[in-house]
């Protein structure tokens, strides 16, 4: 191809009249796609406390907390519920895949920067159960 100088100028002029791609994000809401993997959410009604999510989690976000014991028939069963330390969560969604009761889901929320990271500990399931 021929060697020329300042070849990008016509395109520059064209770009000036186009709308800028920058989104004024904090002032206007940002759209994310339908499948976006954001903050984890649990439906406490559906959770049975089986503990599979705690086993599969690659980032050790989920710890099972014992809430007490209950008698079912003649067996004594420990009631457990998960606590989520969401500040460690990598949003991979493996717990969602493995949850047999569809109690978990990933929401579209992504604004997870907080001054106190303890506010990212999700205790929803315990609060409902106890």
């Amino acid at each position: 191809m021929r060697r020329r100088i300042a070849i990008a100028i016509p395109e520059m002029v064209k770009t000036v009249f186009k709308v800028a791609v920058t989104k004024s994000y904090p002032f206007r809401e940002l759209e994310v796609s339908e499948r976006f993997r954001g903050k984890l959410d649990i439906d406490p009604d559906k959770c049975t406390g089986c503990g599979v999510c705690a086993i599969v989690c690659p980032a050790s976000v989920i710890t099972m907390v014992e809430l007490g014991k209950r008698k079912i028939g003649d067996r004594e069963v420990t009631i457990k519920r998960p606590v989520f330390n969401l500040y460690n969560c990598i949003s991979c969604g493996q717990c969602v895949d493995d949850c047999r009761f569809n109690a978990l889901r990933l929401t579209k929320e992504f604004e997870l920067a907080v001054p106190d990271k303890n506010s990212l500990i999700m205790r929803k399931a315990i609060e409902l159960a106890s």
Binding site: I5, A6, M12, T15, K18, A20, T22
Partner: protein, 321 residues
């Protein structure tokens, strides 16, 4: 006397040019943003107009780190001195009428001295700060200066020959009928190219090429000193655009005949701003469309292309006169 000090320090001297420098930076950032499909400064002032001012004051109040092995005296007091160089130069530029604040018969020589002195100041500052990046940067800066000085002087020589004078006022005066850009277009182009080199803008931003030597000779500066240096670079920008306006575009004069003194000054001011910003804008556009070249390529470009071109222009002028 008071009027003279007012002119020197406030209008059309120091303060006026500092504000234009801020406006230039805003225009540069906004133009670059538009070209690159971005939005640029947005929140400080209308359309982000006060963003450069805010940045300047932010830098002023930041901590100043002095390297242990630097020459402390020059490191601390050099930047204000560097700042004074284009400020004094700007005082020679005619803004409101035919004459600048400090105009005299041979002021163009002094302006050439100012242009050389700003490079010298930069190298002194870089050596005072020390560091390997600065050392390499100054080597490049001086080499680049030696390459562009000859075409710079030759391109300035064209208006001098056309007006037969070394005074900026005379040069402006003799352009009332037709601007010298029409007599000497090649010289004007050479002057623009050389301005890019003097201002360390692409494709000649070799002494401060950030992906190679970080910030060149400015690497060690921070806080107040950096604020001064950045402002000075913007002032240089304004100074060279204003110089191009004065030498080739008829200075502040517009082809309108007005009798009233005050209105004429206002119109001249508007003309000066319009032309200076146009030249500045032209430089922004050129620099946005080019990549950086290497120092040996820059040297050979400046010596083998711009220098003969300026000679050619002078030859044409001599033949036609």
């Amino acid at each position: 006397m008071m009027t003279w000090i007012f002119q020197l320090l406030v209008f059309p001297g120091l303060t006026f040019f500092v504000w234009i420098a801020f406006a230039f930076e805003w225009l540069e950032r906004k133009t670059a943003a538009k070209i690159q499909s971005r939005v640029g400064p947005l929140t400080a002032g209308p359309k982000g107009l006060f963003q450069p001012v805010a940045d300047y004051f932010k830098l002023i109040f930041k901590e100043e780190i002095v390297p242990r092995y630097s020459d402390k005296f020059v490191f601390l007091y050099g930047p204000p001195l560097y700042f004074s160089v284009p400020t004094i130069g700007a005082a020679f530029i005619p803004v409101l009428g035919m004459t600048g604040v400090l105009s005299h018969t041979y002021d163009l020589l002094f302006i050439l001295f100012i242009l050389a002195f700003s490079v010298l100041m930069a190298s002194i500052l870089g050596y005072a700060a020390g560091g390997r990046y600065a050392t390499i940067s100054i080597g490049r800066l001086v080499l680049q200066y030696t390459s562009y000085e000859v075409p710079l002087i030759l391109s300035i020589l064209a208006p001098v020959m056309l007006s037969r004078s070394l005074s900026l006022s005379k040069i402006v005066e003799s352009q009332t009928n037709l601007w010298y850009v029409f007599y000497a277009p090649i010289s004007f182009a050479v002057f623009l190219i050389v301005s890019l080199a003097e201002l360390e803008k692409p494709p000649f931003d070799i002494p401060s090429a950030k992906t190679e030597i970080v910030a060149g000779w400015m690497t060690e500066f921070s806080g107040r000193a950096l604020a001064y240096i950045k402002l000075t670079k913007n002032l240089n920008y304004v100074f060279l655009s204003a110089l191009a306006t004065t030498l080739y575009l008829g200075g502040p004069l517009l082809p309108i005949n007005i009798q009233d003194d005050f209105i004429r000054s206002a119109v001249n001011l508007a003309g000066f701003l319009l032309k200076t910003f146009s030249v500045g804008f032209l430089i922004f556009v050129i620099k946005s469309a080019l990549a950086r070249i290497k120092i040996e390529q820059a040297t050979s470009l400046l010596w083998t292309i711009t220098t003969p071109l300026s000679f050619l222009q002078l030859l044409i002028i001599i033949i036609l006169r």
